[in-house]
């Protein structure tokens, strides 16, 4: 293999698994260390810079970082990264004075944002301090998009949302709420310098099977119903509720139903339990609230008697996979199942729709009625119009919307300054030695053995009777400290200086997880078979040195390195050093 170019920041970036997996590349280990030091405000600000909604995300994030966490490959569970973020938000002091302060000197450019969800709010936050005049349109009565209309208050208290939405809106954003934009052309006619479309994926899919029309009164589209609950138009539901679908919307629908009078709430899903789209923790929470999940049931008919919904019938199926791993659901041949219901919530998916974007605006659409958007610049076929969030590539999650927002803001700024959009700013990076003494490092190098701590929940009797009562109580600071210490500090990198190495093998033998091997070079596939421990995780890189005096190379498999620093402590010549690597995605401006 060629020697690893560790001067290229992307190499060490990839070693920080959580940060690398985070769509907004939040510097996770950096804020976890700050939490361990009790520096909640600083930890919050690191998050706020990267992801704009630390309090919201600390409760609701889809947390792609956690399955990526190295700790999960070393013991059973990853670090509770997401819930630690909440600790920063819960315990911070004043942060507003640390944010960009008005007034911002105007640059004469005006930008329209359509939709007020996380994507648009991120664009607003990045561009307002640069002097852009931002006009935000949303049909809802307040900002936040689906964070407000969809995510229920028992998962995300409204105060937390308001606080973080307002940090953005208070930057002098011109808001036009309760304003549905019915024509992009009209907006373009207002001569904005650029337009950002962050309208999300607003339409819930319907289920057209016999009985749908007759029972219409008691059949609700999940997202519409949740929004109606959130905006206090709907206050109750029948005792017996069927929720159709297996995603996160279905989980929010069933749990909300339990709080609005639903006693026998059943989630009925076509696919097998293990393949449901909902996150494992959401399924657990639903089951904990006495919600039954019936898998492998395909809806057939809405049963109506005397013009009123009685229930539904389902066909039982099982999943069969062909050679290519494609799944089909085959009827088992058992008799159809009837389930009683007073109300049915349909939560079988979201769709994008852009009836308000006219052909003549020059915004072209491709397959599935989705706009044609550049995946890097987020620019559409009309150079002035940018997309982001769920509107760009279909329904995802808040953190992805934020990441899109940052990139779109960079593009809009480049566009307004007539620069090349494809020349993206390089990330800010820094690599600092952690050495203080022979056995002393600036970071806490000792690896804790503790298993993951659970976030305490409020009693079910309390939470089920109050839809706004938050279920999760968050970590107290003592538990947070213990959980924070589980972090392996993967951003404290093992940096190898080949010219100093005397090939004494001290690092090889001290490494608890047998990461380091000195051997003759070879192609990656071959090298991986010759390392001290099995090297099967191909997603993790090998760190390979240039040829040493004995004609061998140093090969380090990054996979399960504990970042414990023992290699560097053992090395007599400091050929290894532990260096903290900071990687920040550059923002607009």
């Amino acid at each position: 293999m060629k020697p690893t170019d560790d001067k290229n920041p992307e190499y060490f970036h990839k070693v920080v698994d959580c940060q690398y997996a985070c769509p907004a590349h939040t510097p996770v280990p950096e804020y976890i260390r700050l939490i361990a030091e009790g520096k909640y405000t600083e930890a919050y600000m690191i998050n706020w810079e990267s992801n704009v909604f630390p309090g919201v995300l600390g409760r609701t994030c889809d947390r792609p970082c956690e399955p990526a966490c190295r700790r999960g490959r070393i013991e059973e569970e990853p670090v509770a990264i997401c819930r630690l973020k909440r600790v920063a938000a819960d315990n911070k002091d004043d942060v507003k004075s640390l944010m960009p302060q008005l007034p911002f000197e105007g640059n004469g450019k005006r930008i329209a944002l359509i939709g007020g969800g996380p994507a648009s709010l991120t664009v607003a936050r990045d561009l307002a301090p640069l002097g852009y005049e931002i006009h935000l349109y949303d049909e809802q009565e307040a900002g936040g998009g689906m964070m407000r209309s969809q995510i229920p208050s028992f998962r995300l208290p409204i105060d937390v949302l308001n606080e973080e939405v307002n940090y953005v809106l208070d930057m002098g954003i011109h808001t036009q709420f309760k304003t549905y934009v019915s024509s992009l052309k009209e907006i373009l006619d207002k001569e904005y310098d650029a337009v950002f479309v962050g309208t999300g994926a607003p339409r819930g899919r319907d289920l057209i099977i016999p009985g749908r029309q007759e029972a219409a009164e008691n059949i609700h589209i999940g997202v519409n119903w949740l929004a109606s609950v959130a905006f206090e138009h709907t206050h109750k539901i029948g005792k017996k509720v069927i929720v159709l679908g297996g995603g996160n919307t279905a989980m929010d629908c069933c749990r909300t139903s339990r709080r609005l009078g639903g006693e026998q709430v059943k989630v009925v899903v076509r696919s097998p339990f293990a393949e449901m789209k909902a996150s494992p923790w959401e399924k657990e929470d639903a089951v904990h609230e006495d919600i039954q999940i019936l898998d492998n049931h395909v809806p057939k008919v809405f049963v109506v008697e005397n013009g009123k919904l009685k229930g539904m019938t389902f066909e039982k199926v099982h999943a069969v996979f062909n050679d290519k791993g494609k799944r089909s659901l085959i009827p088992t041949g058992e008799p159809e199942v009837f389930i009683e219901a007073d109300d049915v919530l349909v939560a079988i998916g979201l769709e994008n729709t852009f009836p308000w974007i006219e052909k003549e605006t020059g915004v072209d659409f491709g397959e599935w009625g989705m706009p044609i958007v550049d995946a890097k610049t987020f620019q559409s076929s009309n150079k002035k119009v940018f997309f982001g969030g769920d509107a760009a590539f279909g329904p995802k999650n808040v953190i992805t919307a934020v990441a899109h927002g940052h990139q779109a803001a960079i593009s809009i700024d480049l566009y307004c300054r007539e620069k090349d959009l494809t020349e993206r700013p390089s990330p800010f990076t820094n690599l600092v030695s952690q050495k203080m003494g022979i056995h002393e490092w600036i970071y806490e190098s000792e690896v804790e053995n503790d298993h993951r701590y659970l976030v305490p929940h409020a009693a079910k009797s309390v939470t089920l009777s109050d839809r706004k009562m938050e279920v999760e109580l968050g970590f107290d600071v003592e538990t947070a400290l213990k959980e924070a210490r589980r972090c392996l500090n993967c951003d404290v990198e093992t940096v190898f200086y080949k010219d100093k190495c005397i090939e004494c093998d001290a690092c090889v033998f001290i490494c608890p997880t047998q990461c380091i091997t000195f051997t003759t070079n070879g192609e990656e596939e071959d090298l991986r078979t010759r390392l001290r421990a099995p090297s099967l995780n191909l997603k993790q890189d090998l760190y390979v040195s240039d040829t040493l005096p004995t004609q061998r190379v140093m090969v380090k498999d990054e996979d399960v390195c504990l970042h414990c620093g023992l290699c560097a402590e053992r090395c007599p010549t400091s050929a290894w050093d532990m260096q903290q690597f900071l990687y920040k995605v550059t923002k607009a401006g």
Partner: protein, 350 residues
């Protein structure tokens, strides 16, 4: 601050026949200087015992005094151990072995511990062909007492402070050959590919197995001009052959079917396979080995590898016809056979 080694290990570590990973063969965290050759030898001992699937409680580690003699704390933490007096490891090993012949005896010593204060014990344990592995971690100095020249320091070798050693060195491998050792090898702490199979073969050998391992002292004897420094050793090393230890149960036919190299069959059906044997070397020929060693020395080379082996070695128990069973397994009846038996013995003297 870490003086603590994490308890986490690589989740995919292979297990041996006993179901153990290398973790079960580790010891406490070493307190030797970072980069000390002795730590690498400890690593090789761990690797060899793991690969041979020896049960840790079947091994007794014995040592004298010195940095080298401290190492048994840093490997085989689940085995028996005795850290004895300076230069007295062989007599403790002899006593232990006489009392319990069923354990594997692994003696660890230094060049000071063996070639100076312990020389008297060393020569006698060889002479008796005690069934044990005797490893000298040879750094040419007294590491523990701050680096004084030892009796194995080469004439003309320069110390860290610049003084030049005026005396002839004692060649421990040559001496072991001369005294009739039944297994003699030499190696380098920086060459695990060679050292691990040598340790395995030594453990398997039914008699006195001596391995002299050049093991640089990074702190006091790794300077330019020293003949035990990493750089010097690497430049002057000459392997007698590449070596592989093939345990009894393995089909040797598959790997070495081409018939190249030399196969040494051991008493239990295991094999030592030597490939690329250097000219003039014959592992069965004591005289040739002594010659090769002397020639290498004249050429300022360090000859490593298996130098000599006597596969049908007879150990001390055999020679003195001691009890076939370990003494600790003998019961009241065997130890005290009664008045009648005594009378029988007395009768024999009449």
């Amino acid at each position: 601050m870490t003086y603590i080694r994490s308890q986490f290990r690589h989740p995919g570590l292979p297990v041996n026949e006993l179901g153990y990973t290398t973790k079960e063969y580790e010891g406490a965290l070493s307190t030797l200087c970072a980069g000390c050759g002795h730590d690498s030898i400890s690593g090789c001992i761990i690797q060899a015992c793991f690969e041979m699937s020896v049960a840790p409680h079947r091994i007794a580690k014995l040592s004298g005094i010195g940095c080298s003699s401290k190492t048994p704390t840093y490997f085989l933490g689940n085995s028996h151990g005795f850290n004895s007096v300076h230069g007295r490891m062989p007599s403790v090993a002899t006593g232990a072995n006489m009392a319990n012949r069923d354990l594997i005896y692994l003696g660890v010593s230094g060049d000071g511990d063996t070639a100076s204060i312990g020389m008297g014990q060393f020569v006698h344990v060889i002479r008796r062909n005690l069934n044990m592995v005797y490893i000298v971690m040879n750094n040419g100095c007294y590491g523990l007492t701050k680096g004084q020249d030892s009796a194995t320091a080469d004439e003309g070798s320069k110390s860290k402070k610049g003084s030049v050693n005026p005396f002839q060195p004692i060649d421990l491998a040559g001496m072991a050959l001369e005294l009739g050792a039944s297994f003699v090898a030499q190696s380098f702490s920086g060459d695990k590919e060679q050292l691990v199979p040598l340790i395995k073969a030594a453990i398997d050998h039914p008699g006195f197995a001596f391995i002299n391992v050049i093991s640089p002292c990074v702190t006091f004897n790794n300077n330019p001009g020293s003949t035990k420094a990493y750089d010097y050793v690497r430049e002057h090393i000459e392997a007698s052959a590449t070596i592989d230890f093939v345990p009894a149960k393995t089909e040797i036919t598959t790997k070495y079917a081409d018939g190249t190299g030399t196969d040494i069959e051991l008493h239990d059906g295991s094999h030592i396979h030597l490939e690329k044997l250097a000219a003039g070397i014959n592992p069965y020929d004591r005289l040739a080995a002594m010659n090769a060693l002397q020639n290498a020395r004249n050429n300022h080379e360090i000859l490593t590898g298996l130098l000599y082996i006597e596969p049908e070695s007879t150990d001390l128990h055999h020679t003195i016809q001691s009890s076939d069973r370990a003494l600790n397994s003998l019961g009241q009846e065997e130890l005290c056979p009664g008045a009648e038996a005594l009378a029988g013995i007395n009768e024999g003297f009449r």
